[in-house]
Every structure is written in C-alpha cells, then in structure tokens.
Symmetry: D2
Subunit: 440 residues, 4 copies
C-alpha cells in the first residue's frame, strides 16, 4: 500500500465560475454564499460526500472485479490503509469544499478479528477524523453501522432468526452511534441492509417485524441516554439485497414507526433510486414524508428508469430535482438533514478526475434546481393554482366536513335534497408542465 | 333488448366428477362438502361471482370496443336491462353453485338523472335481488359503490378538490351500504377507485389523505348507526386508474388506518393482481395483512407477470395459490371474507361457455391448492422447519430481549465480553422449494 | 350534434413571443422561420397533429367513461359529425400553425354497415380534407387504417387465424393507402394494432409471422402499383393491446423486415412511450434505427417511467428530447418523416384551451431541445470525444480487422507473441453528463 | 487450501425412488432410463451442471462478501486450488449422475500473468478433465471464454473501443474453443458479457455492432478450420451487467445473425431469467427461436418475476416448464443442446447438501414437466385445437394468399363485392388454461 499524494491532479478547490464557465472543475450554478430565501446556498443544500462509494468500492459488479485499482485498497496493514484512505477522502472534501461527509463504521476502519478489535479500530480512526475535521471544518452529516456485508448478517441483523446476531449488531451500533456522537454528527442512520427476506418459505415475517421494532427502540433509548440530539433516520428501500426489504417505502416505514411508537425519534432518509425501485417518484416520497411528518434527509442520486437494480448514479436531472426541491422549500428546507451523495461513479470512470467531475456536475445540477425551485415558489407558479384548486375545502362547508361536524347521513341528505350535480374542472396538467418548463 | 333464455347452453349445475373427469363442466377437485380441517370446502373457499366483469363489461379495451354483444347490454329501457342481467347472473350462480356474489351499485342498477333516481333504481333492483336470493340461497359477500366511472369523479371522490363531490359520494355510499345491509352482506367494500393522483403538480397530497380519512370515518360511524356488523374493507392497489393510488399496498393501508384510528373497523380486501403491480407477491400481502391484524378478504384473480396493468385474469396457478392458502389456513381461514372472482374472461372469450369454463377452472385450481395447503400444514412441512429456525427467540435470552429487559448497552457489553461470534445457518431455500413441489 | 363555432376561445394563431413570453399561447422557443443547420425550424421539426387523440378520444379509460363532452362526438348523423370534427381539427391546425396532420380511416370518417359504405364515407371526407388542405396549406404526414378497434379484429388483422379477416383488412388498407396518396401523404403507416397474441396456448406464432410478412408485402406491391412514393412505416410496440406484439421494438422489426425482404420499402415510426415499454430509451431506438438504416419518423410523446401502459403524454422533457434530436441531426434530420403528436391530453384536461396548451408546450420543448442539440453538435461536445474514443479502430490494424484481413488465429498469435496487455481508459460518463447539462 | 474429501456427506449416487419417495436425495420423477417419445429421459433432458455458480461463486453479492467458505477457493497455489475444485465438481457430477457439464475458461483454470500463461493453465486443467471424463463418462455440453470479468473488458470485448482488447479476446476464445473441441464439446457458447453499453454518450452503437459481427464471423471461420462440428451459441440477455446488451432477446439476435450472415453456423442458448428480464415469457423465446430456425440450447433456471436483476434461481415451477418442454417436444427435442443449470443456490444455502438438494429438486421438476408435456402432446390437448383454429389458412384461398397468388387489389375487390363480414370466434383461453391444469 503506497499512496503517492496527491491522488488528484489538481490541488485547487473548485470554485464558482459563473454560468459561462467551461472548466469541468468550476461550478456554474453552485455559488455557496449566494442567499436564497434568506439562507446561504451551502446551508440549503448541505452536501455530504459519502465514504463507501467514493473511497471503499473498487469498481466491481456481479460480473466483474476491481477496475479502479486504488492504492489505499491494497496492502497488508489494514489500519495504515484506513489512514491513507482518510487522507484521500479529506483531500476530496477540501477540493469540493463540501460542508459534510458520511460513513459506515466499516468504511472508515477495518473489522477486527473480534468485535472488541473492530470497535477499537473504529475509535482509532475516529480520533484521526476528529483531528482532520478540526483542521478542515468539514462536519459529519451522519454516521451508521454496516450490518449487512459480513456473512453473520446474511439472514439479517435485527431480523435474524438467531438472537445472537441481534446482540452482535447491538454491539456494533452502540459503537457507531457513540462515535457519531463524539464527532458531532447531525443524525444517525439505520439502513435496513438485509432486514427483509429472500423467501417466505423460511421467514416468519411477524416475528421479524417485532424484532426490528425492538432493535430501533433500543437505539432510541441509547441515543437519549448518551445525549445525542439528532434524529435517527431509517432509509426506505423496497428490495436489494433482499427480495423484500421491510423498509419498503415511505408509507411502509411510517406504518412501522407508528406501530412501534417511534414517530417522535425517528425520521426518514429518502433516496431517489430507492423511490423508483418502489414504484414511486422521488417527489412523491418527499411530499409524502413531509405530509406525514417524517421527513429527515435525502440520499441524492439517481436510478436508471429502465433498470431494476440500485445503480446509484450521480443526480444530473435538473427538472426532476427542481420539483423535489420545490417540495423541500415548501416544507421549510432541511433542519438536521442534507444532500448525501449516495452515488457512485460508473465502474468505467477509472480516472481520479472522474470523482471530481461527478461531484461537481451533480452539485451544480442541484444548485440550478434549487434556484429554479425558489423562483417557482416566489412566483407562486405552482402553489397559487394549487390553493385555488382546493378553495372549496377552505370554505365553510368544507371545513365543517373536515372538522367532523357532518355525518354521512347529513351529507347524503344534503346531496339528495339539493339535487347536487357537481361539475368537474380541468386538471390543467399540460399547462402546469409547461409552466415548470419556464423555470428549469 | 331481448334475452332469449337460457343464455347458457347447459342447464345442469356443475358438479364434482372426481379427479379423472374430463368434462370442462365438472369439478375435478372442488368437492364442496368434503371436510378439510373441520370445515366443508365450500365454507373454506367461500367463492363469490362478481357482477361487473361477468355481466357488465362488454369486452372493450383501450384500443377496441365491445366484443361480447350481450343482449342485456343493449336496449332503451335501462331497468328492464338490469332485470334481464340479474336473470343471467342468478342463472350463473346456480350453474356454478357458488355460495356468494358481489356487486357495485351501478353494476346492479342504472344511474338515474339525479342521485335520487339512482338510489331509487338501486333499491328497486335490491328488491329483486332479495327475492332471487331467497329462492337461490346465494348470499352477498359484499356490496360497494362505484365512485370512479362517472366524470364527476375524474379527480377522485373523497379526495376530490371539490367538497361537493365528497358530498355526492356520501349520498351514493350511504345507499349502497344500506342496500348491502338489508341483503345481509357479510362485508362492505370501499375500493379507492380514483383516490390518488395523476400529477403532484395539481395535487395536495396531505389535504387529500385527510379527506380520505374523514370519509372512511364517516362510513364507519354510519355502519355502527345502522347496525351493520360486517367489517368495512379497503382494497390496496398501487396504480391504475390513477398514476398513484393512495391505497398502494397492505403496508400503506395499514399506516393509513392507524393514522386515522380506523384499525378496529376496517380490514383489507387483497387482490393478487394489485399485489404484483405493487411489487409484492400475493403471499406477501396476505402474510403481512395477517401479521398486522388487518386481513379481511381476497379478490382471487391473477395478473400477468410481464404486463404493467391490471389484467384481472382467472387464477389458475396452483403452486402460487397453495402458498397463499397455506398462509390463510395458518391464520385460521376466513371469517367474514371469501374468494371473490374479481376476474374477467379475455375479450376474445366470446362464447357463453367461456364464462362457465373460466369459473370452473379457477374454482378447481383453488380447491386443489387448498388441499395441498392443508396437507402441507398437517405434515408441518413448512411450519416445523420455521419453528426450528427461530427457536433461539423462544429461549430465555431471546424472550428477555423482546420483552424489553435488555438495553442496547446490556447487549453490546454482552457481545464484547463474551467474544460473541455467531455462525450463520443455511436458509435451505431450494430444499424447501422442493418440499412444496411434493404437495402441488 | 351542434358545434358552436368557434370551439376554441382564441382565434389568433399562436406565434413566437421570445424567451420571456409569459402567455401560454405564445411560443418561447419555437420560431418557425429561424434557420438551424441551414433549414427552417418548421422544416426540421415537421410537427403533425394527430386526429385520434385530439378529436376522437372522449376522455374515457378502462375505469371510466367520457369526460370531454365534445359536441361533435354526439349526434345521430355520423357524417355530419365527421364534418364538424374536421372543422374543429382544421381550426386547431390553423391556431397552432402546424405543417402536418395524421389520421386513421375511422378517425376521419365513420364506419358504415359494410366495407363498401366505409370506403365511401372515407372518400367523402377525403374530398372535404382536400378542400380544407388547399385553403390551409396544412399537409398530410401520413395516413393509416385502423385494423384493431372493431371486434372482427379482436384476434388480429393480418395475423388473424381466419383468412377472411386478412382479406377484409386488405380492403380497408387499399382504401386508406389510396386516400393517403391522393391527399399527398408523405408516408403511409402500418401500426400492428392487434398483430400479436394474448396466449401461446391458442397461437401459432410461426404461421402468424408469415401472414404478417405476406400482408406487408402486398401493401408494398400496391404502393408501387399506384405510384405512391413515400415509404411504408411500421411502428414498434412491445405490448398493449395484446400481451405480446410482433413489432416489439426496432431490433425485432428490423429482423422481420430482413426476413421478408422488405428493407427497401419499409421504415420505422418510433414512439417514445413504446420504446420505454420495451425496456429501451427513446434515444436507443432512434440510434439503432439509424444504425440499421430503417429510421423513418417519430411519434413524439412520453410515457410515465413508473407505469406499465401506454400513457401517450405530451413530450415536455427537454434533456431527453435534446439527446434524441442530437441523434436525428447527426443522421441528417428527417426526410419524409416528422414529429407526430401521438399524445393525448389527460382525461382531466377538459377545457378547449388544454388542447392548445399541450401542443404549444410540447412544440416549445421540442424547439428548445433542437436548439440544444444543434449547439452540442456544432461544438462537437459529444461527437469529438466519441471519435477520439474509437480512434484505434480508424488505425491500420483496426481497419484490417474490420475488413476481414485478420483471422482469429492471426489475432490470437499476435496477442500471445506480443504479450498484449491492453489498459482500460475511462468512460467519463459523469463528465459527459455534465457537458450535456451545459446545453439543456 | 485444504479440501477434506469428501466435501459431500453422502457418497451415494442419487437414484430414482418413485413418486412417493420422501428423501431429498432421491428422484421422484427423473427416471433416466424411462422411455419418452422413443428416447431415454436422460437423452431428452441432457442435464449439465455448470462450473461457475456451483464451484466458483463464493456466495457474495453487491452488498456482502463470501458466505460459502469453500476450501478450494482459499489458498496460495492457484493451480492446486483448480485441481481441488475439479475433484469436488466431478464428485457432484457423479452424485447427480448428470450426463454433461459446462465451464468458462477462467472457471476451470486460473488466469496467469500473461495470456500465454492463462492458456497454459487452461490446457493443463483440460488434461485433467480429459482423464476425469474418461473415468466418469460425463461429457461436455459446451465450453466458453469469460470475456467480461477482467477490467480490460470493462467496456466490452469484441465491442471495445480499443481494438487491442478485441485482439486479446481473440486469443482467449481460440484457446477456449480448441479446448472445447478436444474435450468433445457438443457446442461452443459466446455469451455477450459486456457487449453492450452503459450510456450512448460514449458509445458508437453502429461501430460496435459491426465489430461484434466481425468477431463472431472470425470464430465461425476458426471453428470450421479446426473441424469443430457443433454450433456456436449466442445467449440473449437484455441488460446486466451493461445497461443495454446487444444480444437483447431472441428476435434481436436473429436480426443480428441475418445482418452478418451467420444464420448457418450460430444458434441460440436461451435462458429463462434473461427471457423475463427482456419482457418475454420463457415459452415465447423458445417458440420464437424454433419458428425462426435458431433454437439451440437452454440455460435452465428461473428469475424472480418481481425483481429486475438476474437471480438465476433453480427452476422449480412445473407448470411453466411443462409449456416450454411442450414447445421443445413439438420441435423434435434437443439435437446438440441440453438443459444447462445456469442456476445458483441462494447465498444463504451454505451447506454442501444445499448444492445437492437444489439440483435434485430442479431435475425432478424438469422430469415431471417433460412427462406432462409428453402427455399433452400425445393427447393433442393443445395441438388439436390449434390446428382447428387455423384451418382456414390450410384451405384453398388461405394457401393462395400465402403463396402470393392474390394481390392487395384482388383481396380488396373480393371483400367489397362479396360484402364480407367475418365473424370472430372465441379464443377459449380459460378453457385451454384449465386443460393444461389437468396435466401439471
Ligand atoms: Co442510500
Ligand atoms: Co441506493
Ligand atoms: Co379487486
Ligand atoms: Co384488479
Ligand atoms: Co404511436
Ligand atoms: Co403509444
Ligand atoms: Co445463462
Ligand atoms: Co442469468
């Protein structure tokens, strides 16, 4: 293992270059100090680079091995490799000037021969992170524990048929949560890795849901005990790696949180690619989470509409992002959440610069979408027609119905006696789509 | 309009003919008085013929018109046509010897020029049904109101932006519920027809969910007021006709019922085709509904795994049905629910006999699957390995965890100090699949 | 039947208003006389309004009836209704100032009691079209025959198990082709409506393919006989209305045209919604058709990425269209083809203005995408990197291989003796995606 | 590396035990010497165990590592590991008593530091295979070269932008083809691994198709040169690992083979999981390949209807298999092809016995399906109605049309003058589905 610093050919931080900038290493839209709705763009978007895709994944897929040949992924001294990886990671954070990063325990530090050793490794790297964060001013959006890669978790962690695996997972999560706490993490994430099933032939779904409810409750209790203030975040995903993941989508997670009385402490981390795998638009998942009061944070990436697996590509689609950010801004924007790049460069993108270009291009697409969303919102382009459309419900009778002051019989009698014959009004979908096209 | 009775060429009730019967008008597996787990097969399966597909649909699709040319669908006197339709319907019920049927208000009786007239028409046909039911001993599994075909409902019924539409729908539902009650219906169904959206550009999702919650609550109150004992059933469907239906799947409906405090009065009517459109197996939806305590009834049909719309074909797949009925029997079987044929013959199946062959073939497939499920259950073929797999959770420590007697720190400490290293055990999926193949 | 002209509230032709125009009845990008790559925009885009969606469809779907209540769709005198429909159609052509329209025989004129009557009706309306076209200067992009709506075609037209249906279809196609010819149509389309199957249980796929090959061959012969110069166009679609359509996608149609020796006379009409239903991007289908020499024309619309049926929405997605038009311009643009709006307003878009807004919005999106494509092409933004990427194949050895001057053994020996160890080069996908974002 | 023979706990060859056998290590339906349509079952089904899934895959997936911990996959001496793997493989062949196996070059022997070394390794293992095959009487169904796992192939092999990669691939294929030849392989397979694209932004689709055509032509020439008699087989797959694979489906491959004049020498190897990923039923792909004269062999496995990636599960679905084998038997059965288990046990199936149970269960499902297909065919259960349905085409006029003795005008005139009004006949789908249920 031998990192020849610098890994990246450029040493200059990517900066805003104006809309006509032609360099792939300049932002055309992301101008971090520009004020949008009273906040700096950086504080709106709260970008985070993730550790796993950008520094741990070697470019492999189910049909082929490593393509990237990163020096820090090869060697005999796992802790030295982890430190070299951290050097490259913080170099990328600096070049991109992002305010946040995110990591799993095993992304940052190698697993040891025992849980004890793993925890020790994690804490040693956390020491290093503390130093680097102090120097760099980059913050931790969230930390998490990987409860799905090791073979002990092949049948789930909290939902494993073997309670010993649940117990082992508890050990890993406590350590990851405490490290997240001491690094000042804004949130803690519980992604349900293999919490799901391959076949109902060997699965007791009801037991497993109860196990999962118990596990999340334990983490909530511990979070309070240690004084961690940020929310826990669970991340909806419908399938992959398991055939059926228990955290299928926003609606499913909401039902789960209600069932196990977790709504006060747990919010959702929503990912575009997971949304479409579940048959929903990204906008739907965000709007629903806001409607149900469980919106937390976003994994910003994109799936391929024609493929059935999680491609985790960098988000580049401005029209789609603009509608999502319109929902976000309507809801007041992020509190503890942010835009985490749960996105990986394609396995053919083997040059160091590809890592830069991908982040810069996607940050720019997000910035442009944010500006478009802000303009739409400021103009009431979509909100004014929406209010008009539902005006009847704001009237006296509408409010009486919603408030429970009308029974079914009241309404039925009223419809019968008045000879009610409501006339439909145009939904104006094409007009509204054209309006959006003025802004994006 | 001119029905030349009899519509069907045969006048003989289809009977059990033994496994070697070759006639398409004999059952090979459905032997209604055979006792399975202490119940007659008829009482297990509780088959219901549905009115809409079998007597109202003319064979049209989005690219073509009528193919069936049913005499009772042509004429000037709508009420006479409705009575002729009822004659054919009860003739089919008799030929198939099914214990139940189901209908929407507008399937049974024509809409009038006003709501008042529509309600009168419905009650007139209900009078006819009462007579025919008394004579035939066929019962009503459930009734429902069609809140989606008329243009007034193009933007939803309860979730319409116009409260007048909500009010009109209340008038229609009260009438349908009361007719269902006087006909002795075992359940009342609320399928969310167009309760969903086409585009979020013109939709306030949060308002609409609240409207829907209010509407279902009103129906619950009215049901109690009139003394209707059966449950209300909502029917999950993810899409079609709208792009996004609010009753997406079992998990979504469960969250909705919790949110609006409806779990005591409302259960689910689960359909195979809707399950797969939502990305779930039929078995999953049934198992989940049972786990969450919201299982009600089944719309028995099948979708095409390779098509993206609701094909509503007759269920013929014995291996799939056997696993579903295995879940059903594990849960104790139906209470008020049953197997409703929400299935239509293909539009090329234009002969009267096709209606018979479809029902007979599917009833037989269900019967055979029920027997297979019973045998698997009796042998513990799947249940014994399942219990063994989770045995750890039935032990002292597993129970202590589930009962909340262990904190995260307790478990973490235990894992650390014991040097816990849980070893995975085979999931044996292929073995279990082979076992199932012995029974189906 | 009683059309109160004018149907549309505005009488003014939609005109280019500049990028800042705010009226939904002004173009912001479509400036028909603007020269792009030496051609007027109008001549590049060759927009055609289609008859069926805009003037014949009543707003129904499988779960509900008419919503639009168009006056010309109601009445007793079918020919008078057809003439009234033509009035509205030509009014829309005028308001939009489109150069083309398209129609099926049965869109334009009512089916009669016999084929003879149907043909007479068609010719009578064609007389009316001739007059109107002369006055309006709108031209016919293509005509076609509807071989799928009537119940005689329920099992296909050319691929029907009954040769009488094939014969009837021949009668209908001859009339439609001849009408298209006399109206100066630029192409003639053969969409395979129900040329496919519902189940292989009742289908002889090999026979049906041969029938279809024969039918298209007959139309080719007839086209030559009457001197029709335009190409025939077949339109790939994978499914719907049948479970499996024989013209599945571009590659399938290409194999079919080769097999039946039709490559000289038949090209393809490619639709976005059909592309994605087949699992392909629109860009893929266009690029493949060009590579295989079968590119003809485009049905410009869009499907919903999350729905499994043909939604035929108006195309509004500029980034997607820009890449498609980039392929189109690389290939030299349209010859006889054009952009046909095989797109329907949503069934909730019940106002006359919705028809205008939909077309204007989509024409504008196309115009903007054309300009972006032109700029990318002029700058070599995508073409220059592509040429560089394949430079090796333009070298001596690459050309020798492609020309067949190297055997497998030659190459194998060369690889072995030279110790060849080719090094991969970055695919730069994220960089290229960011580049595209500069233009759209 | 240290294989403690025997890997499997049983040493006894699995044998036919009759339909009531309860042991998972007995066949209930597969009775290899039973005569079906004049052939032994073994000679009909021609089962082959594949090397890659069963002996090379460690149980990893994109979210987790090795679960199987096979001893022969760990060690320092790659050739010793390859020999140990061969011992286990031939032990499994013996236990299952299968007549065939299949392998990729890199499954059998480790890649060396150079192509030369790789070829030498392959030939050394081929020597070992020769000895073992002589002793065991197991034969080679086909061999193939892996042109997709190494990073040099990340952008394709024959379709790589770099001709050096094409050349390297030629070296690998020559060696694999020659080894297949000397081992008496019945076919040689060319699976298009990464012959496809990730994005059209960096892909010249037309160039790449020509490259692929050239490559396959070179292999055809070499096959003739060395006297290899079996066909080449290409294997349709629509996506994965690339976003778009050039060998999308049967129809696409057929068009490709026509275009590059390869129909005489190349047939298709069709896989169930690839069929459904392309939107086709397995039965469709088999029927189409037979209709087009390109049917070769089958990769027998199954995908998950609700997942969008290649799960390669063991085929267990008797009703589906019965219809496929019905097509197969109608076409005369296999010539050089067979049923290759391109199927992997789930990654939780970590016991040695799981490998046995999976193969035994699937062999049995195939055998049972073959018997059902034979019975249907013998009874004319499906073929007789099919012949009747198309009888019109066997009549004089039908034959005249197909033979080209009728012009479009002839037919049109005939339809007009006769007042032709063809009446549709029932497709009887539900009846036919019920008929199939009698046999499976
Ligand atoms: Co994520
Ligand atoms: Co993801
Ligand atoms: Co239903
Ligand atoms: Co349905
Ligand atoms: Co079209
Ligand atoms: Co379409
Ligand atoms: Co395969
Ligand atoms: Co596969």
């Amino acid at each position: 293992m031998n990192v020849q610093p610098p890994f990246f050919q450029t040493g200059a931080t990517v900066a805003y270059g104006g809309a006509d900038a032609r360099s792939p290493l300049a932002f055309r839209w992301y101008d971090k100090d520009r004020i949008v709705r009273g906040r700096r763009m950086e504080d709106h978007l709260r970008f985070a680079v993730c550790y796993w895709h950008s520094f741990c994944w070697p470019g492999s897929d189910p049909f082929g091995g490593e393509t990237f040949l990163r020096s820090w992924q090869h060697g005999d001294d796992a802790m030295a490799m982890a430190r070299a990886k951290a050097d490259v990671a913080f170099e990328l954070f600096r070049l991109l000037d992002v305010p946040f990063f995110t990591f799993h325990d095993v992304d940052a530090a190698p697993e040891g021969a025992t849980l004890k050793e793993s925890v020790a490794n994690l804490n040693a790297i956390a020491d290093l992170f503390e130093q680097k964060m102090a120097a760099a001013k980059v913050r931790l959006l969230w930390g998490t524990a990987n409860l799905f890669s090791h073979r002990r978790y092949m049948a789930g962690a909290a939902t494993n048929p073997d309670p010993d695996v649940f117990t082992y997972a508890a050990g890993q999560v406590r350590a990851a949560l405490e490290v997240t706490h001491r690094l000042g993490g804004a949130n803690y994430v519980l992604w349900g890795g293999r919490e799901g099933y391959e076949t109902l032939l060997n699965t007791d779904l009801k037991r497993e849901l109860d196990q999962l409810g118990r596990f999340v409750s334990l983490v909530v209790e511990h979070k309070h005990k240690i004084g961690f203030k940020g929310p826990l975040l669970i991340e909806p995903k419908p399938k992959e790696p398991t055939k059926h993941q228990y955290d299928f989508d926003v609606a499913t997670c909401y039902g789960f949180l209600q069932r196990y009385d977790l709504l006060n402490d747990v919010k959702l981390n929503i990912e575009q690619n997971h949304a479409i795998l579940a048959g929903h638009s990204f906008q739907h998942e965000v709007a629903l989470a806001q409607a149900l009061g469980v919106f937390g944070s976003l994994d910003i990436n994109r799936g391929d509409d024609l493929l059935g697996w999680d491609t985790d590509q960098f988000a580049m689609n401005v029209p789609e992002l603009a509608l999502v950010f319109h929902e976000l801004l309507k809801g007041g924007g992020f509190t503890t959440g942010g835009l985490n790049f749960d996105a990986k460069i394609r396995r053919q993108s083997i040059d160091p610069d590809d890592l830069l270009h991908a982040h810069v291009g996607s940050m720019d697409a997000c910035a442009r979408a944010l500006l478009a969303a802000d303009e739409m919102l400021a103009a009431g382009a979509l909100t004014a027609p929406l209010t008009a459309r539902y005006a009847g419900w704001d009237g006296e009778e509408g409010q009486a119905i919603l408030a429970g002051r009308r029974s079914l019989a009241d309404l039925a009698d009223s419809a019968l006696t008045s000879g009610l014959d409501p006339q439909p009004r145009s939904g104006r979908q094409e007009y509204l789509e054209s309006v959006v096209n003025r802004y994006v």
